[in-house]
Amino acid sequence: MLRDNIRKIFHEAKERGWVMEPQAKGLLGLAGMDVPRFLFTADVAEAIRFADKIKYPVVAKVVSPDVIHKSDASGVVLGIPGAQRLGEIFAEMGKIRGFQGIIVEESLKGIELIVGMKMDKQFGPVILLGMGGTAVEIYKDVTLRMAPLREHDTESMMRCLIARPLLEGYRGSEGVNVNELKKMLLAFSSLVMEFEKEVESVDLNPVICNASRCVVADARIMLANS
């Protein structure tokens, strides 16, 4: 049943070539991965009601079929302190091309990682773990493995990052919950193996990890052409 729902999401996104964030998060949640509490809405009053419920500060992100890289289009605002500011941001994002609404979601603290996947011609699905955020391609602190991941692969991936001390807790800062991260990598690996024919590449970026959770804060799923 879950798999059918996931397949349905892929099917609906097929023509666009990529899965928009609300659907992507729904899909990852179905696959057993942790996602933030969020609401996708085109109604500002509803957005504010939800934000009140999950408590400020909140995050707001634009949802538009024309915007793949939201940060580049000023489509992401973090740390929104209250209803008034959220209302203003809603209005500003309303001007972005293709605006369908916004995502309002809980703010999360922790280390930003990227978990990714690409279909490789010679090896099939390949999984990436690295330090995430917008500077991924500058630091390139990443490690790659062929899927499906075995448990020892997830351990060696964490060990191989230059930023490994940050994951373990560095100079008084708390590390990440290694078991949650492992669980998430394994769930992602199963998902990837099951839908390798449908997907071309995936960026889960950032995945925010702290001592208790590993949460996929944003996801970009590019679909295969066929």
Binding site: G116, L128, E137, R145, S156, N205, M222
Partner: protein, 455 residues
């Protein structure tokens, strides 16, 4: 697909032997196998006739004995019909030297060839290849024998997409004393691919280590290759070309942008314990080390030398390659202090690297290697032997090798490879201790034992 008759044939037919042109590739193959190898060889040419008194058969089916291996060096267009003849004559396999297939755009002709062979499960190597070199048994390379540098018979199997690179690796292996079990140039690998070779060598008692020169895999072939390589129980070494991206393609995700073809290749090889050599020298060093030692280590090395400078350089090189040279425990150091000659006791350094100074004698090296061999903190020993030290004899290689046989801890030696020190080098090599001709190479050899180099 049974490859036994293809790789270990008793009889060979060479199709395309010219009656008038001795420099024809088929003639080169026919002549060298007739004159130099114990295999029975027959010539085939559609016109028939004789060559130096021997019958030239019009077709394969006319040969009075059953043919194991057929070498095909004719024009590309008639190769499919010869493959049909092979199948009709119940041959064991073929090497198709001829070019003019996928490499020149004639993909249809190549596919047709494969479809004929597949129907009858008939194995062939190539097309567009040099084929098979089996030391002391046969050689299908169309290179005159006197131009080849022939390595000794040994335990390393070599597979290469490129014939030229294969010949070059044979030259380097011969120079380093690395023996070869079988060398195969698979060319366009239309039928027999790397994966088939892996499966064959898994059960080949003459092969302990398999090396591959790879240009690329076909779709999903890489996945099957690493999985098979991790399951055959013998070390697999790869050298890959085409590491630089051919062109920039627009990619929409960070993952696709960062995970370039080579990064993916290299990471996955390490993930599955396939040893990746970064150049041909490393490849030969890795092969030499892994034929001697098939154990996997994490990388804790002891360095024993008579020259502090060599010890320091080797230590730096170890760390640069992700190996460690841990300081020995006080008790281990005290033991070394007690086993060496009184003359060097106070001037040596026992921390690791262990410097026994220019005054050390053979017995000092022996006792220190023995003691370190029994130290569980150390997994492998690099002995930097400088034969110009006045008290070191040429017997030390053989003596240390014997010590390895007793103690079982891997030793890698460095001795400058010059004629003057040949006996020392051979003392190691003949007794299965790998000897490098540079410090860097010695470290490479140790690195080869640390198979799972994922970061």
């Amino acid at each position: 697909m049974n490859l036994k008759r293809l790789f270990k044939p008793d009889t060979m037919a060479v199709v395309g032997v010219s009656l008038s042109n001795e420099s024809n590739p088929a003639n080169v193959v026919y002549n060298k196998n007739r004159l130099r190898y114990p295999i029975k060889v027959f010539a085939v040419n559609g016109k028939g006739g004789t060559i130096r008194g021997e019958t030239v058969y019009r077709k394969l089916q006319d040969i009075p004995v059953k043919i194991d291996l057929v070498i095909i060096g004719t024009k590309a267009e008639i190769v499919p019909s010869i493959i049909s003849d092979c199948i009709e004559a119940d041959a064991g396999g073929a090497v198709i030297i001829s070019g003019g297939f996928a490499e020149t755009g004639s993909t249809d002709l190549q596919n047709y060839l494969v479809s004929i062979a597949k129907k009858s499960d008939f194995p062939f190597i190539g097309p567009n290849c040099l084929g098979i070199f089996a030391p002391g048994h046969m050689d299908t390379f169309f290179i005159p024998g006197e131009r080849l540098v022939i390595p000794d018979r040994g335990k390393v199997a070599m597979v290469s997409q490129s014939g030229g690179i294969l010949v070059d690796h044979m030259v380097k292996s011969a120079a380093e004393g690395v023996g070869v079990s079988l060398a195969v140039s698979i060319g366009n690998k239309a039928m027999i691919k790397e994966l088939d070779m892996l499966r064959y060598f898994k059960d080949d008692p003459e092969t302990d280590v398999i090396t591959f020169y790879l240009e690329g895999f076909d779709e999903d072939e890489g996945r099957a290759f690493v999985v098979a390589a991790s399951e055959i129980g013998k070390p697999v070494i790869v050298l890959k070309s085409g590491k630089t991206p051919g062109g920039i393609t627009a990619v929409k995700s960070h993952t696709a942008s960062i995970a370039g073809d080579y990064e993916v290749f290299s990471s996955i090889m390490a993930q599955y314990g396939v040893v990746e050599a970064t150049d041909e020298f490393e490849m030969v060093a890795f092969a030499e080390a892994l034929t001697c030692y098939q154990t996997t280590i994490e990388g804790r090395v002891a360095i024993i030398t008579g020259s502090g400078g060599h010890g320091a350089l080797a230590t730096d090189t170890c760390y640069a390659h992700g190996l460690s040279v841990p300081v020995l425990s006080p008790s281990a150091q005290a033991e070394l202090h007690s086993v060496v000659s009184p003359t060097i006791r106070e001037i040596s350094s026992f921390t690791n690297p262990i410097d026994l100074t220019g005054s050390a004698v053979d017995d000092d090296f022996m006792e220190v290697v023995r003691s370190v061999s029994r130290n569980d903190d150390i997994e492998c020993i690099i002995v930097l032997l400088l034969p110009y030290l006045p008290h070191v004899t040429m017997d030390l290689g053989a003596k240390l090798s014997l010590l390895y046989q007793q103690e079982g801890k891997p030793i890698v030696a460095y001795v400058p490879h010059v004629d003057k020190y040949r006996m020392l080098v051979e003392g190691f090599m003949l007794n299965k201790i790998p000897v490098a001709d540079s410090i860097e190479d010695a470290v490479h050899m140790v690195e080869a034992m640390r198979r799972y180099k994922s970061c």
